[in-house]
């Protein structure tokens, strides 16, 4: 991570959080008072910010016991210790307004399964991921013949948990195959510490990450449970 900006003050009581740049963009996408589920919610900073700033019903699922402890210490009352690879069976169809998955899809064993679960449960899904076609990544592979390491992808190939890396173009195709409709694409590039700006030109080359806003498409609605 290492890309956290200045702490953001949330209320008069002095509650502060540090948000990833993507989280700041996602904050603006969320409607006041909605029901939000953050998958891989970590220590709950985004959920807390959304709860205080947007008055959302904040729910989260997180694999790490220590992170759950941190969420409880923040006063979040709907965080659940669990493995995203097991899906979202607890949640009825369309029970959540926005299901969020930030910087996590690349570590899942079954990304297709989860994205369809997200589209089943959520009216909208917001997914962010590092773009593996970002030019410094391409350059390291092309010019040096080395496995790319960047700020977004800092680990050695043998230590990384990123097993399903993707690019903006590939993610688009993935959504299409999953029967998921893309509502909005927000390719991002760094623009100062803790900041991202939207990439308008040649996003698959110039964006280091992207946020996609999705919903279940007609194909998925017509055929809700194909063999995965």
């Amino acid at each position: 991570m290492g890309d956290l900006g200045e702490p953001i003050r949330l209320d008069n009581a002095g509650t502060t959080v540090r948000l990833l740049p993507e989280h700041r963009v996602i904050m603006d996408l969320i409607a006041e008072g909605s029901r939000v589920l953050d998958l891989g919610c970590g220590e709950g900073d985004l959920l807390l910010a959304l709860k205080i700033k947007k008055n959302v019903r904040a729910e989260g699922i997180e694999l790490s016991e220590a992170c759950i402890q941190a969420c409880v210490a923040k006063g979040l009352f709907s965080v659940q210790h669990g493995d995203l690879d097991e899906g979202l069976a607890n949640y009825p169809d369309k029970s959540i307004d926005d299901v969020i998955l930030t910087n996590t899809i690349q570590v899942l064993h079954r990304p297709l399964f989860l994205i369809r679960e997200m589209a089943r449960v959520g009216r909208r899904c917001i997914v962010s991921f590092p773009n593996f076609a970002h030019w410094p990544v391409r350059w390291q592979l092309f010019a040096h013949g080395r496995m790319p390491k960047t700020g977004k992808l800092p680990h050695e190939w043998y230590e990384t948990s990123n097993i399903h890396l993707t690019t903006i173009i590939d993610f688009r195709e993935f959504c299409h195959k999953a029967g998921i409709h893309i509502l909005q694409e927000i390719p991002l590039r760094p623009s100062g510490p803790g900041r991202r700006s939207v990439v308008r030109f040649a996003p698959n080359l110039r964006a280091d990450s992207a946020i996609f806003v999705l919903e279940a498409g007609p194909a998925m609605i017509a055929n809700p449970a194909p063999a995965l």
Binding site: E59, E65, I68, Q69, C71, V72, A73, G75, L76, F77, S78, V79, Q80, H81, G82, A89, N90, Y91, P92
Partner: protein, 382 residues
């Protein structure tokens, strides 16, 4: 832990409340009216003027009302959850009014099969009615009424105590703000019922049991000890037993080639069994273990989420990774039902090797989860 420990609640007296005096009997789930009923309980800390800081602690199968502190200055061990209850502990008695209630059917100061039936002047034995978790909770409600508390800040318990927590929030949704069911389930698995049944069979096969009519005579000690030994195995994990005992021999260097206790684990279980019979009544064991078997929160409602439909409480559901008696999936089912009806629920599985009994042991994770949950939960509007 010593008496001087400033984190101790010190000397406490077990109190009791008697209600359902004839003819105003309490209607039990089995359809029988029953009374009078006495419940033993202890309290620690002070009830706030607004009466909004009461926490009800609910105990497991073999527990009692004595959850913290010492009943007399020479008592060797403090109450069963002393690590969690006291000044500065998770259930901080400087902030909260903590109540621990014994259950109906028990043998530690509450009405149970060993109590005297006022109609006959003799112990009830098997004429004692079959009681359920629901009945235990209804009886506790009478106690909470007696204490003048409209709404509990929190109901908390592990194992069978957790079943009572769940029954509390379902039966009396307006009366519990925070619920902490630990290492528990909304219904016993077939495997757990099987272990309970073996325990009961051990008691009932003891020649001293005599259809429960043993009061005033030698008691079914062997049977009860075996029941406790079986229970104890289910409370530990394979790994924790291995770490604690391995294949180490007890007070000897070589096998004895006889049926005395060779292995430490054998002598430990014998000790646990023998120790238990001195403090527990065999008939109470039969009744309470059967109450656990009958417990099925979903059954009257069809589905668990329907049972939770009117629940108002916020939940902190905790399981332990090595608990194979009430495995994590059973806690997840509770959380799942909460999610489906939109009730707020935190779920965490604590990594531990100590098995089901982990909730009774000192745990930084357990303490801090509960401390934070109570602090934030108390702040939130009821």
């Amino acid at each position: 832990m010593t008496m001087e420990d400033k984190c101790s609640v010190g000397i406490v007296e077990t109190q009791s409340h008697t209600f359902a005096q004839l003819p105003q009997e309490m209607l039990l789930e089995c359809g029988r009216g029953f009374g009078p009923i006495t419940l033993a309980y202890e309290t620690y800390g002070e009830l706030s003027p607004a009466k909004d800081n009461a926490i009800l602690i609910l105990h497991a199968l073999s527990g009692d009302a004595h959850a913290a502190g010492f009943n007399h200055p020479h008592e060797r061990h403090p109450g069963w959850w002393d690590i969690m209850i006291g000044p500065g502990k998770a259930f901080d008695t400087r902030k909260y009014f903590v109540i621990c209630s014994n259950v109906i059917g028990g043998c530690k100061g509450s009405t149970g099969p060993s109590s005297i039936d006022p109609k006959t002047g003799r112990p009830y034995a098997l004429t004692f009615p079959m009681v359920t978790i629901h009945d235990m909770v209804n009886a506790q409600r009478a106690l909470i009424d007696h204490l003048g508390i409209d709404q509990l800040l929190c109901a908390v318990g592990g194992s069978m105590g957790g079943m009572q927590v769940l029954q509390w929030v379902v039966s009396y949704p307006e009366r519990v703000r925070l619920a902490i069911p630990i290492a528990t389930t909304s219904k016993l698995s077939s495997q757990s019922i099987a272990f309970n049944e073996v325990g009961r069979q051990a008691i009932q096969s003891d020649p001293h049991w005599k259809e429960g009519e043993y009061y005033g005579h030698p008691t079914p000690r062997r049977g009860l000890a075996i029941a406790r030994m079986i229970g104890h195995i289910t409370y530990l994990s394979e790994k924790s037993m291995h770490q604690k005992f391995g294949r180490k021999l007890q007070d000897k260097a070589e096998y004895g080639y006889d049926f005395r206790a060779d292995f430490q684990v054998e002598s430990y279980l014998r000790y646990k069994g023998d120790h238990f019979v001195d403090r527990f009544d065999a008939n109470s064991y039969l009744y309470i273990s059967k109450a656990m078997d009958y417990f099925d929160l979903a059954q009257p409602h069809g589905k668990l989420e329907q049972a939770f439909a009117n629940v108002k409480a916020k939940f902190l559901v905790i399981s332990f990774s090595s608990d194979w008696l009430f495995p994590s999936y059973q806690s997840k089912e509770i959380v799942s039902a909460c999610r489906r009806v939109g009730a707020e629920a935190i779920y965490t599985e604590i990594q531990t090797d100590y098995g089901h009994d982990a909730f009774l042991l000192e745990s930084e994770q357990l303490s801090s989860l509960i401390t934070n949950f109570l602090t934030h939960g108390r702040k939130g509007a009821s």
